[in-house]
Amino acid sequence: MRAPLTNDGRGRETPGLGRLPHAGGIRRTGYRLAVPDLLRVYDRGEHFDEVFDDRGEVRPHYRELVARITRLSPDDLERRERIRDGIFRAQGITFTVYGDDDGIERTFPMDLLPRIIPADEWDVIERGVVQRVTALNRFLEDLYVGEQAAVHDGVVPRWLIQTAEGYARAAFGIPVTHAARCLVSGIDLVRDRDGTYRVLEDNLRNPSGISYVLENRAAMTRVLPVVFASQRVRPVDHYGPMLLRALREVAPPAAGDQPTAVVLTPGVYNAAYFEHAFLARQMGIELVEGRDLVVDEHVVSMRTTRGLERVDVIYRRIDDDFLDPVVFRADSALGVPGLLSAARAGNVTIANAVGNGVADDKAVYAFVPDLIRFYLGEDPILPNVETYLLWEPEQRAAVLERLDQLVVKPVGASGGYGLVIGPRASDAELAEVRAAIGADPRAYIAQEVVALSRHPTLIGDRIEGRHVDLRPFAIAGESVEVVPGGLTRVALRRGSLVVNSSQGGGSKDTWVLDGGGDGTARVGALPYGSRHTEA
């Protein structure tokens, strides 16, 4: 299988989604080409391609998939897309886009072509994520209930910590069992031109997306069961029990051996409500809103029809600012008055912990490799993306010189909001961001543009390369564990480097192959689910 080599990363003029002819309201016109032909005209471009190597050969861990997919006729492919659409619509798997008038709820489109990670690559990712989350937990614990050693020793400047938006003085002295402050983290990884996985950002407050990982997998096994079964893919559906175990492990010591955990949601109008409900269902615990909880004598209870029932652990999906109106925003109707006092008294554990935002501030991010060295005495397994700190005069001057070649990010935002990509920005946008940096250099960072890896993706009636990232999810209780795979997000717009669901992204089921080698197994040749021990 060969994909033509070109030196033009933007590809030829193939029609994108928007320019497809529409026939009688039918979204797509059907595949005119069979899969082998679709792959033959596939333009690998100049980026690192997940499926094809530099010579255009299919990488070993994708060979089985390509062989299976190639057997699907155009009709077959379309039929399976319809099955997929039906599954997602029927389950109401949607997310909400803020500031968008039409159709508030959208489905998060899953591409039929999965992303595959071989076992040896995953091993690096897994160790790297565990290492990073462990160090970040140590750092946060030290910051809020410890000596602040990293600050004293000058690993991170004190003023930088104190000016971080997520730094919460209210979190001082609040204990967290096992120091599992980042109980759930989503570490966003990208691959650069040579395929190295780099950390793009850490999400340590309320990372979302795990429900898509689980739903994508469930859908995939129904849409392409034979293709799926031909590979030995590590399962992900133990996420619910894993999360519940961690929540129980971090319960306050006084809670006894059957602690009660709940999921706290802002309510049905929140963008990620679907996921909150999904997780509560997966764990079989109550999904509560702020008004369901009440704090009395520093003890948190939920209002049930049988009276007040004590709560020991709260997996909250409400931001710090809205969590407790006594401490944070007084106008918050979503939170629970007195919650922090209960946590400080050691009567309830809030997960993720309050104040984690200081560690995923994008300027503090630049210091995480140093924090790993400081707290763990190890070299970072996963490197950062080259990052420039704009309050340093020389770095700022260098950045302003070549602003049109760099990415500028606001330090406090997430979800791709406020991002300026130099090579794509207009002169006016560049002037604007230049002025903003001049006014408040602490509020931004600049990074080298990472030419995110691309993955073949079904677009219209074509297979085209689209940029992808990877968000593995780590759960910390007594120890840190990573769910195999994670959420692969796809920038569906041609050339776009922004994969966030709120910015027109889609997703892919992400397969981590079991065992070594190419991880393939024929259906029938090996019983499904047996251990694969070949080197």
Binding site: A277, D292, V294, P337
Partner: protein
């Protein structure tokens, strides 16, 4: 279960029932007036507003028939209108989607979307019957789906309790509106059933049709026929709709059913809600219909409605409103 979710289910039950019963009442009023030789149409509609306790909401808008019908059917400013009730029922079920079957959500959502997609104003002019019967049937579908898909746990019980209390109240109002309208339409010279203490007998032809309409609006006409044959005595109709233990829309049937649900919810503990409801059930079960006319039917119906309202209050206190003992925190939480 969480008190908030229990309350959502309780109100979902009430709102679906309210939408259905309002459709039934508007329908019966509309169609009896079509056949009525008397011209006091506006007054009849006004009385419907009165028994539904909606005159304060209606305010001082002109009291013409068309306006009142639109107010009762599609005015979103009227919390008792059919569309508002459906919307609220949907909102309540939406908040408990995790607890109910997806079929139940789809059923209420379908009704909501169907009403949204129709030109209700136009239909009221052309085909009101089709509209009312759609609402009636869709509401029954919602309950049918709930009944066939929900486990008989506390969630189900709260929903059933809400529905039965609401229906008991609405059946009282249904009887009351016909009773009042008969008084008005009959005029002072033909006082059939207007004087308390006088048991009415032998209706003339107009009344005959009116009472058939009442029975039909409670889906009770056929059952009444089988029980009472050809006789059409208002006292029998009132007895049937109020005191018949086996008729699904009779007040006694609803309150007896509500009592079963409440006792299961209270696990047979004596509570204020069970005491209030039990007394109301007893006062109906051992009541002779002739006494009602002696006492004055309107007053009696009012009293039953007030008792039901107090039961609902007691249910809310018992199950939905738990505050910790420390008042400081209760204030902070409110």
């Amino acid at each position: 279960m969480l008190a908030r979710l229990a309350e959502n289910l309780f109100w979902a039950g009430r709102y679906v029932e309210r939408a259905e019963d309002t459709a039934r009442m508007v329908d019966v009023t509309y169609h009896t007036l079509l056949e009525s030789p008397y011209g006091e149409v506006e007054q009849a509609w006004w009385q419907l507003l009165e028994v539904l306790h909606l005159t304060p909401v209606y305010g001082d808008q002109p009291a013409d028939a068309e306006r009142i019908v639109r107010f009762l059917v599609l005015d979103s400013a009227n919390p008792g209108s059919i569309t508002a009730s459906v919307t609220r029922a949907r909102e309540n079920i939406r908040s408990v989607r995790e607890l109910v079957s997806s079929e139940l959500w789809e059923a209420i959502n379908d009704l909501h979307l169907a009403l949204g997609a129709r030109d209700l104003g136009q239909e009221l002019e052309d085909q009101p019957y089709a509209l009312f019967s759609t609402v009636r049937r869709s509401c029954m579908t919602v309950y049918g789906v709930a009944s066939e898909t929900m486990p008989r746990d506390d969630g189900w019980r709260f929903m059933a309790l809400g529905r039965l209390l609401e229906r008991a109240e609405m059946t009282c109002r249904l009887i009351d509106v016909r009773y009042g309208q008969l008084e008005a339409l009959s005029g002072p010279s033909r006082r059939l059933i207007t004087v308390p203490g006088e048991l009415p007998r032998g209706p003339d032809r107009t009344d005959f049709h009116h009472w058939i309409a009442v029975l039909k609006s409670a889906s009770a006409f056929e059952a009444y026929r089988r029980r009472y044959r050809a006789s059409m005595d208002p006292a029998d109709v009132v007895e049937f709709l109020l005191l018949e233990p086996d008729l699904p829309r009779s007040v006694l049937f609803c309150l007896t059913g509500a009592m079963h649900q409440l006792e299961a919810l209270c696990e047979s503990r004596p509570t204020r809600a069970t005491r209030l409801l039990g007394r109301t059930v007893a006062s109906l079960r051992y009541r002779d219909v002739s006494e009602l006319f002696e006492l004055g039917l309107h007053g009696f119906l009012d009293d039953v409605q007030n008792r039901v309202a107090r039961v609902a209050e007691a249910v809310a206190d018992e199950f939905f409103r738990h505050h910790p003992s420390g008042t400081m925190h209760a204030i902070a939480a409110s």
